[in-house]
Amino acid sequence: MSQPESPETKPVATAQPQKELPQFEKSIADKLESKFSSRVAIEFVKPTRIRVKVKKEDVLEVARFIRDELHFDHAESVTGVDYPDQKEIEVVYHLGSYTDPELSKQVLALATSAPREENPNPGNDSTRLPSLRDIFYSVEFHERECFEMLGVYFENHPDNRRLLLPEDWADLPPMRKDFKIKGR
């Protein structure tokens, strides 16, 4: 077998940072901003990606607006991210659209956060968020995963059971930062 070429040893190529905001994404962000003004924070607008942060009291209303007016129709993923320093757990919904061909490239990240407790008691403490299951049906299993992995209880979720973890798991929710892998 022939010897493959060794990789080129040139310095790291850096992509040019984009100065102008992409127009189409900006228009989606503007619609959100004009409807909810200061209640939504547009965190970034990049090509094909938008990120919006809202308070947990507003998340249902904003999500309904995103579904009905902006035509995003399904959730691709629901991610919980633990920030122990800020004492909060952020939940990010990545929303996409199958029905609107203009939006097929776009992914809208809707982020909200729940308070984080030092000694979690999943389901019985203040780490709670309203469930988006009535608005985006597809979040059902994703929210179940988020509940067991980070201890975020989703109110009004029809089926708040364990999904991936064993039924008798008695440790901390494992995706929290204070749950350490042994030997690392």
């Binding site: 991210v81 199958y98 490239k105």
Partner: protein
């Protein structure tokens, strides 16, 4: 007493007519997962999927390793489709670090991921064949798969766990006579998979078992957020290779097939049609690929990503595969989330199996193109 038990352990009262069946986790027809099925006579009343038997904490492990160390373990959820599951991670890290992939590497990535898609689909098809009691359909794809596995071994050095993609390109260039070898094998492979029509897809027994079983309408496919072959079998034309082209896909002509029936037959046919499309893409890519040039940009040791986050997605053998990376200026990612097609299609199971006959369960279950290990991560 029962009320004090944690969620998931409550005891339930059942009608005497209703019997609970545990399909799996040891059942050869369930993969590494359990389906808790309640039957009334021959009909399924409810189905509760219980994944997690192969949960390996890939996402947690990724927080403890740097961007390069994450490569080999992140492909473990689907070793048969290992190029495609690493793809969004590599694209994400490239955006975080500001890397530009050389053109030749982009084309080789496309070729490797299409070959891998065929390898995965053949394995899936082999199992679908044996699920339906068709042993020839187990032997043929499992044998024809070897053609491409041997080819991938020549490129990457490993038969299944390639770890071929790295942020900034691919690990090594292909051997000298790669183009001819690849073309010859892909052409022969295409000739072979054409023969599956006569033995499997046009087979009246298969058609009678899968037609009309587990019908998913277009509206429900969208509402449930399904992806990949499940979505395209229900009449939604959504393929990321076409809709959001990444790497060299933008310069290639991709036609993915869409069927309107939404039943198990359509769902099982889409992956087979995808293999023909993969062969087309490989032939195009071989033609357009630059014949020489670098295949990787060199990284700094222990690269760090800035305070940023990316969400990248590709079309894998099981549908859209997203990778969400949160970086906090450290050599290790702060959070990595894989949003995999199998996990997204899991929601169909209780929905589709309700009201089906128990005998239709394997035909419907495996037609969802579901890979239990990937869903658990």
């Amino acid at each position: 007493m029962a009320t004090q038990l944690p969620p998931g352990l409550q005891l339930e009262k059942l009608d005497e007519r209703i019997m609970t069946l545990n399909v799996g986790p040891q059942h050869p027809g369930s993969g590494h997962m359990r389906l808790i099925i309640k039957v009334d006579g021959d009909y399924i009343v409810s189905c509760d999927p219980d994944p997690g038997y192969v949960h390996r904490g890939e996402e947690k492990m990724a927080e403890y390793r740097n961007y390069i160390q994450n490569i080999p373990h992140l492909e473990r959820p689907v070793i048969h489709d290992s190029c495609n599951i690493l793809y969004p991670y590599c694209l994400g890290v490239e955006e975080l670090l500001g890397l530009e992939v050389p053109e030749r590497a982009q084309y080789l990535r496309v070729i490797a991921s299409e070959l891998n898609r065929c390898v995965y689909i053949q394995y899936w098809l082999a199992i679908y064949g044996i699920f339906l009691g068709h042993s020839t359909m187990f032997m043929w794809p499992a044998g024809d798969r070897e053609l491409l596995i041997d080819l991938l071994e020549k490129i990457t050095g490993a038969r299944v766990t390639h770890a071929y993609f790295v942020p900034g390109g691919i690990r090594n260039d292909v051997p000298a006579n790669f183009e001819d070898m690849c073309l010859k094998r892909v052409n022969y492979f295409e000739k072979r998979i054409k023969e599956y029509a006569a033995i499997f897809y046009d087979n009246p027994i298969l058609i009678s078992r899968t037609r009309g079983a587990g019908v998913l309408s277009r509206e429900d496919a969208i509402r449930l957020g399904t992806t990949g072959s499940t979505l395209r079998a229900s009449g939604v034309d959504f393929d990321l290779r076409k809709k959001e082209p990444y790497d060299a896909y933008g310069e290639l002509d991709v036609h993915s097939d869409v069927l309107k029936d939404g039943d198990s037959y359509a769902r099982s046919k889409i992956p087979w049609l995808d293999m023909f499309e993969s062969c087309n893409i490989i032939r195009q890519a071989l033609q357009k690929m630059p014949k020489s040039g670098s295949v990787r940009v060199k990284l700094k040791p222990n690269p760090k990503g800035g305070n940023d986050e990316v969400y990248k997605r590709v079309e894998s053998g099981r549908g859209s595969l997203g990778c969400y990376i949160v970086s906090r200026s450290k050599p290790e990612p702060y959070r990595v989330k894989l949003s995999v097609g199998s996990f997204r299609n899991l929601i169909c199971m209780p929905y589709l199996l309700k009201g089906e006959k128990l005998g239709n369960m394997p035909a419907v279950y495996w037609s969802l193109n579901y890979w239990p290990v990937e869903a658990d991560r």
